[in-house]
C-alpha cells in the first residue's frame, strides 16, 4: 500500500470510528495571580484543577483565569523551578498564590521524545530551558533564546545579518564529514536541517515568541530513541499551548530596537595611503592617488531599526482549548540594504474528547518571510578599497560610482576590487520564503485498558522559497563579465516537503506488590523528505537569456530521502529509588543500499535516587541526590551535504553547455560517471555518560555534573580512495574513528530570597577534548591529513587539517621566525624536519578553533516590581586565524602591479610584510573571550487603573561588551578563519507587554 494513502484510508478513519461523543460540564471561573516570594508575577505557571485533567497557565505577569467544573475542589499550581502549591477553591473566585522557588523540581514533566517522563525518573542527560530562562531582547531566531544557557551546547551565530543562522553543536558534534547538526524536533515533528533557497536560515521561519520550552537530549541514553539522527544530540522545541478551562486571554507585546556597530576594522586612512604610496609606489601608482579621505566602512553600515509585534489569544472554548498568535517582525540590518521581515501566525487546538480518553493536539504554524540580502562582499571591499578615492564620480559611468578602470579598454579593471557602495546599492537580491509546519497528534487511552495508550502523530512541514537577483548592466560587476554585459535578472525557486507518520503504544502500570512502576513504549516512524528546485538559466536584467547561456539539461532537481524506524523503550522504577531505562531503535535510511540500510541502536541507563535512601531521606542538607549512568549507540546517515542523496547508486552527469568536447565541428555534451560507494553504512557513535544531580538547602543550590566519552566508529568520512577504484579521488567511506571526552557542570542557586529581594544565578561549564583517532585503513608517517578551512587569497589555499591524533580542523601552518626587533621576518620559517628546504613537510599543527572550555553565567535580581538580569558567556582556548590581516594587511594589499590601489589593515605597519604570508602562524592568536550577551531591566506595573489589563516594560541591551585579547573585530567565530564577517551589532531595545 502506498504510504500516503495509508494516512487517509486507515489512520484518520480509525479515529472517526473509535469515538463518537463528547462530554460537556457545568463550570465556574476563578481568576488570580501567581507570585514569587518577592511578590513578582511568575509567568508560565501551570494552574490545574485537581482530579479534573484540565489546566491553564499564568500570563507574563503571573495573571491567570481558569474555568473549572462545579465539582472541582482544589487548584494545583506548579511551574518548573518552583514548589507545587495547592489552593482550596471553596467559594473563592479569586486567588493570589505564592510559589516558593525550588530549582530542579523533581516532579516537573520532561519531554523525552515519544512521550514524557517525570524529572525524577529521567536517567539520561536532559536539560530543559523554559520561557523564564530565555535570553532577553530581540531574538529573531529560536536558537538565540538558549545561547550560553546550557552546558554542552555551543551556539555560534554566523554573523549579524538579519535572521542569520547559527552553528549549533551539542557536545562538539560526533562526525567529521557527515552533518554535525543536532536533530531539531518542533512540536514532535523532526525537521530537516537543510536550508532552502531564499532563506538565510531555515530556523528563522519559526517565531521564537511562540516557543514554550527547549528540551535538550545530550547523551545516548536520552537520544537513542531518536537513533538514526541522534548522534549529535536532539533539541525538542515545544510551542505554547492553551489549556482546558482557560478564559480568554490576550497578550500583546511590542519591542522596538536600534542596532549599532560596535567597532570597525582598523585600516589606513586616505592620508596614510598617500604617504605610503608616495614613499613606496612607482610613478604610475602615484598617479592613481586621489585626494579624498573616505571612510568606506562608515559608508556601508548604518544604525538599523527593528520593530516586532506579537499578539496572542488563548483560552478554552468549552472543551476546546486554543491558542492563536500573530507575529510581525521588521528588521533592518546594519549593512545597508539588508533587511528581513516576517509575518507569522500560529494556531493550536487541544481538544479532549470521550471522557478525556482522547486528547488531540493540533498545531499549525505559518510564516511568510521576506528578505533582502546585501552583498557581504561589500564588507571586504570597504576594508580593501582605496580611501583616497571619492565614493561617487560625477558624470562617470557605473551609475555614478567611482570604479577602477582599465585605461586601454575603458572597462572596469577586471582584477580590482569594486566600489563597496555600488555592490550594495546596485544589487537587488530579494526573496520570500513561506513555511507551514503542522501536526495533528491523537493520544488515545483505551477504554477497555486505560493503562494502554495509542499515540498517532501526523506531521507536515512545507517550505517554499523564491527569489530574484537584479543588477543593472551599468554596474561594474556586470561589465567585467562577458555573460553579464546585459545585467543580471536571475530567478530561482525551491520547495521542500517533509512528511511524518508516527504511531506508538504506551503502557504504564504501577504494581504496588513489587513496588514497581513500568512504562513501556513501542512505536513506528515513517518520514519522507523531498527537495525540489527549478533549474533556470542565467537571465539578463530584461528577463532575456544571458549571452551564451543555454537551457539546462534537466528543468528540475528533485531529491528524496526516506527514513523508517521501529523503536521501543522500557522505563522501570523500583521502590522509587532504582530506575532502569532501556531503548532500542531500528532504523532504515534510503541513503544506503538495501543490504546496508538497517541499523540497530540500543541504549541502557540506570539511575539511583540516593536521596531517597534511608540514610539521606531526612537530610536537611541534601534536597536531591541522584546518580545516573548510561550507555548507548546512536547512528548517523546525514551525508547529503557531501555525497548527495543517492551515494550508493552509480550514475552519470551530463555536462553543461560550457563543458563540451568537439568531434569534428560538432560539440558534444559529455557523459561523466559519478563516484559512488555501494558499501556505505551507518556511522555509529557510542556514548558513555555518568552524571550526578544534586540539590542542597531545599533546592536553593542545585545542579548536575556529567562526564562523558563519545566514540564514533565507521565514520562517514570523505577520504582518498585508491586511484582507479572510484570515479573520484576522494569520496565518502566508512573509515576511521573519532573520540570526544567531556565534562559538564551546571549550577543554579538562589543566594538571596526575601520578600522584596531575590537573587538567582545560573552557571554552566563545559570542557571537551576531541580527537581524530583513525582516518584511513593505514596511516603512514608522511601522510599529512586532509586539508580543510579554505581562506581568501591565492588559489585553493587551506589553513586547517584533519589529521590523526589531533582535533578536527587543527591549524596547519609554518612556524614564523622573528627578528631581533621581535618583528616577524617575512618569508622565514622554522625548518621543522631539518632537511634544509621549506616545503609542506615543514607545516606543523598548531592549535584549534574550537574552545576547550565554554562557560555560561547568568543572573537575575528582583526587587519588588523591578527585575534586572544579565547573561555572560565565555569561550576559552579557541584560536583564530586572521585571514583579514594575512590577505588584506600587507604592502601588496596597497600596491600591486594590476593598475589600482588598495588599502590594508593597520597590521601591515607591525609586520612590514610586502607579500602575503598566508601560512605564517603569526596570524593565529588566542581568541578566548568573555561576552555579555544581554543586560535587561524589567518593570512590572501591575494592573492598569482598575482594568483587567496589566503592563510590563522592558529595556534591553544585547551584545553589551566583549573582553578579549584578540585584536580583530570579533573573537567569536566557529570556523576559526576570520575574514569579512557581517559584524554582530549591539542592540538597544525597549519593549511593552500588555496582558488582558
Amino acid at each position: 500500500m502506498n504510504c500516503r494513502k495509508l494516512l487517509s484510508t486507515i489512520v484518520l478513519p480509525l479515529f472517526l470510528l473509535l469515538f463518537s461523543t463528547a462530554v460537556w460540564a457545568q463550570s465556574k471561573t476563578i481568576t488570580g495571580r501567581v507570585v514569587d516570594a518577592a511578590g513578582a508575577g511568575i509567568p508560565g505557571v501551570t494552574v490545574a484543577a485537581k482530579g479534573q485533567n484540565l489546566a491553564t497557565s499564568s500570563s507574563e505577569t503571573g495573571e491567570f483565569t481558569i474555568v473549572v467544573p462545579a465539582s472541582a475542589t482544589t487548584l494545583v499550581f506548579s511551574s518548573v523551578g518552583y514548589g507545587t502549591q495547592e489552593f482550596t477553591i471553596g467559594t473563592n473566585t479569586a486567588a493570589t498564590v505564592t510559589l516558593s522557588q525550588l530549582a530542579g523540581n523533581l516532579n516537573e514533566v520532561v519531554v523525552v521524545g515519544y512521550g514524557t517522563q517525570r524529572r525524577r525518573d529521567v536517567t539520561g542527560s536532559v536539560t530543559t530551558i523554559t520561557t523564564k530562562d530565555f535570553n532577553k531582547g530581540i531574538n529573531t531566531t529560536p536558537e538565540q533564546l538558549i545561547q550560553g544557557k546550557v552546558a554542552g551546547v555551543q551556539i555560534t551565530s554566523n554573523g549579524g545579518a538579519p535572521g542569520s543562522g547559527s552553528v549549533i553543536r551539542i557536545r562538539g558534534g560526533a562526525s567529521l564529514n557527515a552533518s554535525n547538526d543536532p536533530l531539531i524536533v518542533i512540536d514532535n515533528v523532526p525537521v530537516s536541517n537543510s536550508g532552502i533557497a531564499g532563506s538565510a536560515n531555515i530556523l528563522n521561519t519559526i517565531n521564537p515568541n511562540d516557543i514554550e520550552s527547549f528540551n535538550i537530549l545530550k547523551d545516548a541514553s536520552a537520544t537513542a530513541i531518536y537513533g538514526s539522527r541522534a548522534s549529535n544530540g536532539v533539541i525538542l522545541i515545544t510551542t505554547k499551548k492553551g489549556s482546558r478551562g482557560d478564559k480568554l486571554r490576550v497578550n500583546y507585546n511590542v519591542v522596538g530596537s536600534i542596532a549599532k556597530r560596535t567597532n570597525e576594522i582598523d585600516v589606513l586612512s586616505g592620508d596614510e595611503i598617500r604617504k605610503y604610496v608616495n614613499e613606496n609606489g612607482t610613478a604610475a601608482q602615484k598617479s592613481l592617488l586621489g585626494s579624498a579621505n573616505t571612510d568606506w566602512q562608515s559608508l556601508i553600515f548604518r544604525e538599523a531599526f527593528t520593530h516586532e509585534h506579537n499578539l496572542s489569544i488563548s483560552g478554552g472554548f468549552k472543551p476546546l482549548p486554543y491558542r492563536l498568535s500573530l507575529g510581525y517582525l521588521n528588521q533592518d540590518g546594519i549593512l545597508k540594504t539588508s533587511h528581513m521581515d516576517r509575518t507569522s501566525a500560529s494556531l493550536g487546538l487541544f481538544p479532549s474528547l470521550f471522557d478525556r480518553h482522547l486528547n488531540i493536539t493540533i498545531n499549525g504554524k505559518a510564516t511568510h518571510t521576506k528578505n533582502r540580502f546585501a552583498d557581504e562582499g561589500a564588507i571586504g571591499s570597504a576594508i580593501s578599497f582605496d580611501p583616497t578615492q571619492q565614493p561617487y564620480q560625477k558624470g562617470g559611468g557605473f551609475a555614478g560610482y567611482f570604479e577602477w578602470i582599465d585605461s586601454t579598454s575603458g572597462k572596469p579593471n577586471l582584477l580590482s576590487n569594486r566600489n563597496p557602495l555600488a555592490l550594495l546599492n546596485l544589487v537587488r537580491n530579494v526573496s520570500w520564503v513561506n513555511r507551514f509546519i503542522g501536526n495533528a497528534q491523537f493520544d488515545y487511552k483505551f477504554h477497555f485498558l486505560p493503562d494502554l495508550k495509542l499515540n498517532v502523530n501526523l506531521g507536515y512541514d512545507h517550505q517554499q522559497g523564491e527569489g530574484t537577483i537584479l543588477v543593472p548592466s551599468v554596474a561594474a560587476t556586470q561589465l567585467v563579465q562577458a555573460t553579464r554585459v546585459n545585467g543580471t535578472g536571475d530567478i530561482y525557486d525551491a520547495v521542500n516537503k517533509n512528511k511524518l507518520l508516527e504511531a506508538y503504544l504506551n503502557y504504564t502500570k504501577k504494581i504496588e506488590a513489587i513496588r514497581s512502576r513500568i512504562d513501556l513504549t513501542g512505536g513506528y516512524s515513517y518520514q519522507d523528505f523531498q527537495y525540489e528546485n527549478t533549474n533556470y538559466p542565467p537571465y539578463d536584467v530584461n528577463g532575456k537569456l544571458a549571452p551564451t547561456a543555454t537551457l539546462p539539461v534537466f528543468p528540475f532537481n528533485f531529491n528524496q530521502q526516506t527514513l523508517i524506524s521501529y523503536y521501543g523503550r522500557l522505563n522501570y522504577v523500583l521502590n522509587e529509588k532504582y530506575i532502569v531505562n532501556a531503548t532500542v531503535r531500528r532504523d532504515a535510511s534510503s541513503i544506503f543500499s538495501k543490504e546496508n540500510r538497517w541499523g540497530t541502536f540500543p541504549a541502557v541507563s540506570f539511575a539511583w535516587r540516593i536521596k531517597d535512601e534511608g540514610f539521606l531521606k531526612n537530610s536537611n542538607l541534601f534536597s536531591d541526590l541522584k546518580l545516573r549512568i548510561g550507555y548507548g549507540i546512536t547512528g548517523q546517515q546525514d551525508i547529503t551535504g557531501s555525497a548527495g542523496f543517492y551515494p550508493y547508486i552509480p550514475g552519470y552527469f551530463t555536462s553543461d553547455s560550457s563543458s563540451l568536447y568537439p568531434f569534428g565541428d560538432t560539440y558534444y555534451s559529455t557523459y561523466s560517471p559519478k563516484p559512488y560507494n555501494a558499501d556505505l553504512k551507518w556511522e555509529e557513535t557510542e556514548t558513555i555518560n555518568a552524571g550526578l544531580d544534586f540539590g542542597f538547602f531545599n533546592g536553593r543550590l542545585n545542579g548536575s555534573v556529567d562526564v562523558f566519552r563519545k566514540t564514533s566508529r565507521d565514520l562517514l568520512a570523505t577520504v582518498a580512495f585508491p586511484v582507479t577504484t572510484n570515479f573520484s579521488n576522494e569520496f565518502i567511506k566508512n573509515v576511521g574513528s573519532f573520540k570526544a571526552d567531556g565534562i559538564e557542570l551546571t549550577i543554579n542557586a538562589t543566594p538571596v530570597k526575601t520578600r522584596d529581594f531575590t537573587w538567582d544565578l545560573g552557571f554552566n561549564a563545559t570542557y571537551i577534548d576531541r580527537e581524530i583517532t583513525q582516518l584511513n585503513d593505514v596511516t603512514p608517517e608522511d601522510f599529512l591529513g586532509y586539508p580543510q578551512g579554505g581562506i581568501n587569497g591565492g588559489t585553493g589555499n587551506r589553513i586547517q587539517v584533519h589529521s590523526v591524533g589531533y582535533t578536527p580542523n587543527t591549524f596547519f601552518v609554518y612556524q614564523q621566525v622573528y627578528g631581533a626587533d621581535n618583528k616577524p621576518v617575512e618569508g622565514l620559517y622554522v625548518d621543522q624536519n631539518g632537511d634544509g628546504i621549506i616545503n609542506e613537510r615543514d607545516l606543523y599543527r598548531y592549535k584549534s578553533p574550537q574552545p576547550s572550555t565554554t562557560l555560561g553565567f547568568n543572573s537575575q535580581f528582583g526587587y519588588k516590581k523591578v527585575s534586572l538580569g544579565f547573561s555572560l558567556r565565555s569561550n576559552l582556548d579557541n584560536y583564530l586565524y586572521s585571514n583579514l590581516n594575512s590577505h588584506q594587511g600587507v604592502g601588496r594589499s596597497i600596491l600591486n602591479p594590476l593598475n589600482f590601489l588598495g588599502n590594508s589593515t593597520r597590521n601591515v605597519l607591525e609586520t612590514g610584510f610586502t607579500n602575503n604570508q598566508y601560512f605564517s602562524d603569526y596570524y593565529i592568536s588566542n581568541a578566548s573571550f568573555l561576552k555579555m550577551d544581554y543586560l535587561s531591566l524589567g518593570v512590572d506595573l501591575g494592573k492598569l487603573g482598575g482594568t483587567n489589563s496589566s503592563l510590563r516594560l522592558t529595556a534591553n541591551i544585547q551584545n553589551v561588551f566583549t573582553v578579549t585579547k584578540y585584536k580583530g573585530l570579533d573573537p567569536e567565530n566557529f570556523s576559526g578563519v576570520d575574514n569579512q564577517v557581517y559584524p554582530r551589532p549591539r542592540i538597544y531595545s525597549l519593549g511593552i507587554n500588555l496582558d488582558y
Binding site: 582584477l415 552527469f653 579521488n729
Partner: protein, 521 residues
Amino acid sequence: MKLFKLSFLIVLLGALASCTKDLDRSPLYGVTSVTVFSTPAGYKQALAKVYSHFSLTGSGGAGSSDIAGIDAGTSSYVRLHWSLQELTTDEAIVAWNDPGLPDLHTMSWGSSNDLIKGFYNRLFSQITVANEFLRESATGRVGEKGFSATEAGEIKAYNAEVRFIRAYDYLVALDLFGNVPFSTEANLIGGDRPEQIKRTELFTWVENELKAAEAELKEPKTNEYGRVDKAAAWMSLARLYLNAKIYSGTDRSTDAITYAKKVISAGYTLENTYKNLFLADNNLRKNEIIFSIPFDGLRMQTYGGTTFLVHASLGGNMSASEAGVDAAWAGLRTTKNLVDLFPNSGADTRALFYTNGQNKQINDVGTFTDGYAVTKWMNITSEGKPGKHPTFVDNDFPMFRLAEAYLIYAEAQLRGGTGGDATTALQYINKLRERAYGNPSGNLASLELTTILDERARELYWEGLRRTDLIRFAKFTDASYLWPFKGGVKEGRGVESFRTLFPLPAADITANPNLTQNTGY
C-alpha cells in the same frame, strides 16, 4: 468491539511494514550506465568524457572539477602537466604563492605537494573513465546491443582511441612517477586496491599497448578533429623509445627512429609561420599538428589549459587586450637560460619574448617583471583578431607536432640509433631553423647531441616537454647545469638526484597499502 479495534491495530501495523519499499529511492532526473550505453550516440558522449579530461576540469563549467581537494582551475590536465614539466626547469618560473606551486621551481616538493597530487589524480581519473569505457565497449558487450555493423565498427574505433589514451596516460605516469598503481578494465569500481607496477614492467606494457591500439586506430589525418589516429600512437612510441634508457635502462634509439620516420612520412608538413602554431586559430594548423588538446572560449571553459597559459604569461606593461583577453594574471616568465639560447639579433623568430619593463635577471621570484615574459600563447588569431571569449581562450594545446618528430629522429640518430642517417637528421633540424629564420642564414653545418637539447628548447619551449629532456641529458638535478632559483637559491644549485621522479602522493599511499614510495621521498 474490542476485538474489532484490536484487529484494526494489527492491520494498521501490517500496512506500515509495507512502506519499506519506499526506501528504494533513486534519482528522478539522472542518467544511468544503462541509458548511456544503449545507443551509439551515448557511446560517443561517453567517449567525449574520456577525451575531455585532457581539456576540461569538470562537467559543470569552469568552476567544476572531477578532482577533489584542489582548486578547480588548477586541476586541469594541461595546466598541471605543464607546471610539472616546465616550472621545474630553466624554461619557466611563476610568481604566485598557490599551495605547492613555489616548490616546483625551487625543486623542494614533498609527497603531499598539491600539484603533484593533483596531476596524479587527474591522470588516474582519466585512466578510470577509460577503463570503464573499455569495459562497456568490449566487443562482446557491444555485440549484445543490436547495433548495425557500421555503428559497432565506429564503437570499435572509439575503443582503440580510448586504449591509446590510457596507454598515453601510463606513458606520462612512467615519465613522471615511474612506479605507479596499475589497473586496467579488469579492475572494477569498488574493487581491490590496484597493485604497484615497476617502471621497467610498465615500459613494456605501454610499448605493447600502444602497438595494440595503433593497429586499430584510423589512418593518419583521416579521423575527426579532436580525435587521435595512428600518428599519435607513433609519436607516443617515438617518445617512449627516445627515453627508453631512462625508463627501462636499455637504449632503444633505433625504434625511436622507426616511429619518427612513420610520422614524418605520413604527409605532415611544417607550418610556415612558427607562432601561428600557438594562436587562437591553431586548430587550422593540421598540416603540422598531429593531435591537439582542443579548447574553445565559449563551449569549453576552464581556468586551466591554455586559458592559464595565456593569462598567466601576461603582466607588467603588457596589454591583456592585445593578447585577446580581459586580464593579466602576472605569473609566468622565463629565465635567462632560455633567452640566451637565442641570438640577440632577433633573427630567430621563435624567440617570442616581451622585454619592455622586464628584467632579464630574476631577483625576486614573486615579482612578475623579473625575468622576460613569453608571448608564445596569445588568444588572438593569425589575423590579429581576439578569440571568442575574453576570459576563456580558443588556443588548442598541441600534444604532438611534426617538428618534434624531426627532433626525435635527429637525436636518436646521434645517440647511435640505426635506420636513419646523419644527412637527413641535419636536414630536418635545418628545416626547423629555416622556418625560424625565414631563410637558411641560421642553418647548421653539423649536429652534436647538445645542440639537439638546445634546439629542442628553442623549438618546443613552453610546450610541456622540458623536464623530460633535461633528465635525458642528465642536466635536471645535479650542479652541472644551473638556472636562477634552481634549488631555491638565486644563482641555482644542484639538488638530490632522486628528484628525477616525482613522489607518489602521500594521500594515495595512505589509501593503498600496496604502494611503496619512490626512493628519496
